[in-house]
């Protein structure tokens, strides 16, 4: 078991326009990218649960050229509207940082 922060040197979120938040998880190497993808630990259902939206609204793409997982979800409140707690959507990624993934922490590219 490893925490996502130990497998990915970059975990970030940001608005993709005012109505969507997009998450990028950039894995440390291709082997880790493939291992996490194969593990089934990061799925639309997982993001739907963490962010409280319907699974059908989650966009999830494994982007090989940047060894990145990209996930996008529609915002319930548009960016900067009254009630929005994070104008840039930039801290939404926080619950992902310590997510447990069934991949060995010491997993290295051969």
């Amino acid at each position: 078991m490893a925490r996502l922060r130990d497998l990915a040197p970059a975990i970030r979120s940001k608005n993709a326009g005012p109505f969507w938040v997009t998450f990028d998880v950039l894995f440390r190497d291709h082997a880790t990218f493939e291992a996490v993808k194969a593990s089934g630990a990061l799925t639309k259902a997982v993001f739907a649960r963490i962010y409280g939206i319907a699974k059908e609204r989650v966009v999830l793409i494994w982007y090989e050229p940047a060894r990145a997982l990209k996930v996008s979800i529609p915002r319930t409140i548009a960016a900067g509207s009254p009630g929005d707690g994070d104008l840039y959507g930039c801290q939404w990624f926080a619950p992902l940082v310590d997510l447990e993934v069934p991949v060995a922490a010491g997993h290295q590219e051969p």
């Binding site: 109505f19 950039l26 960016a79």
Partner: protein, 457 residues
């Protein structure tokens, strides 16, 4: 093989760049200098209020070397999404800034101003003709949203910018434009491959953001060729890597593969990113698919009300342990006080009182998994929204007094609950807006929504 050189001054006009980087970039003979000045990222305030996103000093500081060098070397300077939101007020303020800079340096040139603000009635006509549709996850547009919007802009594509240059403009100040169109306009007009052009534009528009570890906002340079482009930063301490450029392709987009622009879609799914040397990256495989119908994205912001806020620290562990109930009681008491002060004539729907608890769940709200473990200290942010600033402040005055002394069982005697950092503790925050449009319109042609004015400065 033809080479087309492009210099991006920085990722957002006003955030600065290194003058040495600019010099190095200019020495490489760019065909034009582009800079994006806008974004919806900072929220609806710039569009709703007509205010510039950054200070006039920051804009002047960034514009001055670009105008001076551009005019001197006869290299066009293209600024897109002027002032943040790119409505008419922003373009007009930018015209003034450009004239000030030109006067200071004795510059004379043809200036093109391209306006992006849309007229309500013409949009209603397009709506009635079925030419406006929503983007996910929004609903079809209602006329009321157009009536209530303070300002509506369309995001122009490359064509109005091309036209400005064809009309002899040396400096172009465009209202709201797609970030990439600022950089795609001239290379497309020169006949370069659209896939190469649009992808290079996507990387260029954020300036030095596409480097491995950006230590400062700065310029970016691209060399476009027939079937690829090469991109690199101008500060020797920064470098682009295949990973940094690939990662930037997915930044701030729902999909890393499909990037929709007014004339069509850039597909990056078959791209390869290769290091040319330690700091430069070559990108191949980008392709552009023209759309069946040209579409222009609309942005709009409406006034929600005026806000007064109050920030206070809470350190009492007994109060921190009962915050939800205490806050609900405070809210109830505030309702009573407001009714008492203003009577039933004040429409209850016209004002709101709400709060955020920093140190507990202010950022993630209901999605916070650790809200039952607040810190030993929390920051309470109270917020009143009302039709006028004076009413918002008056209601906050009542809320402040209620919250300051509301009982915290089992404490006895009069309690004072809030550690205010300021006198007065409330802060009139001004007008609050909200983005209300997430729609695209099909214009009759790429120019009809974007009138141009030419001025010889």
């Amino acid at each position: 093989m033809a080479e087309y050189h492009v210099l991006a001054a920085t990722g957002m006009l006003g955030t600065g760049y290194s003058h040495q980087s600019l010099e190095r970039g200019l020495a490489m003979n760019p065909r034009f200098i582009g800079v994006d000045s806008g974004s919806t990222d900072p929220g609806p305030w710039s569009l709703g209020s007509g205010s510039l996103h950054m200070s006039p000093e920051a804009y002047r500081r960034d514009l001055r070397p670009l105008l001076r060098e551009g005019v001197k070397r006869k290299v066009p300077v293209i600024v897109g999404s002027a002032g943040g939101a790119g409505a008419n007020a922003h373009v007009e303020q930018f015209e003034e800034l450009v004239r000030e800079v030109a006067r200071a340096d004795g510059l004379h040139f043809r200036l093109a101003l391209i306006f992006a603000e849309q007229d309500r009635e013409s949009l209603k006509a397009k709506l009635a003709a079925g030419k406006i549709r929503p983007l996910a996850p929004s609903e079809p547009l209602a006329e009321g949203a157009l009536d209530r919007a303070a300002h509506v802009v369309g995001m122009m594509g490359p064509e109005p910018i091309q036209r400005a240059i064809e009309e002899g403009a040396q400096v172009v100040v465009a209202g709201r434009a797609s970030d990439t169109s600022i950089f795609a306009a001239l290379p497309l007009a020169s006949g370069l491959d659209p896939g190469v052009v649009w992808h290079a534009a996507k990387i260029l528009e954020c300036g030095a953001a596409a480097v491995e570890r950006r230590r400062a906002t700065d310029c970016l340079f691209a060399i476009l060729r027939d079937d690829h482009f090469v991109v690199f930063p101008l500060d020797p301490a920064m470098r682009c890597t295949p990973l940094s450029v690939a990662a930037h392709t997915l930044y701030e987009n729902v999909s890393p593969y499909e990037l929709v622009e007014p004339p069509g879609t850039l597909w990056t799914d078959r791209c390869r990113y290769e290091a040319v040397d330690e700091r430069a990256v070559k990108v191949t495989g980008s392709r552009f698919v023209p759309a069946q119908r040209y579409t222009v994205k609309l942005e709009g912001a409406e006034l929600v009300g005026h806000q007064t806020i109050l920030l206070a620290g809470i350190r009492d562990p007994v109060l921190i342990g009962q915050l939800d109930r205490w806050l609900a009681e405070v809210a109830g008491r505030v309702e009573e006080r407001v009714l008492d002060l203003y009577g039933p004539g004040l429409d209850r729907q016209s004002w709101s009182f709400t709060w955020r608890v920093y140190g507990r769940d202010a950022v993630l709200g209901p999605r916070e998994p650790q809200r039952d473990r607040p810190g030993h200290e929390v920051g309470l942010l109270l917020e009143v929204t009302a039709p006028s600033q004076s009413l918002a402040t008056a209601i906050m005055g009542a809320a402040r007094h209620v919250a300051l002394h509301h009982p915290v069982p089992p404490w006895e005697s009069l309690v004072s609950n809030l550690a205010f950092p300021y006198s007065p503790p409330f802060i009139p925050r001004g007008a609050a807006y909200r983005f209300t449009l997430n729609h695209v319109v099909e214009p009759a042609d790429p120019y009809e929504m974007f009138p141009m004015k030419l001025v010889d400065v």
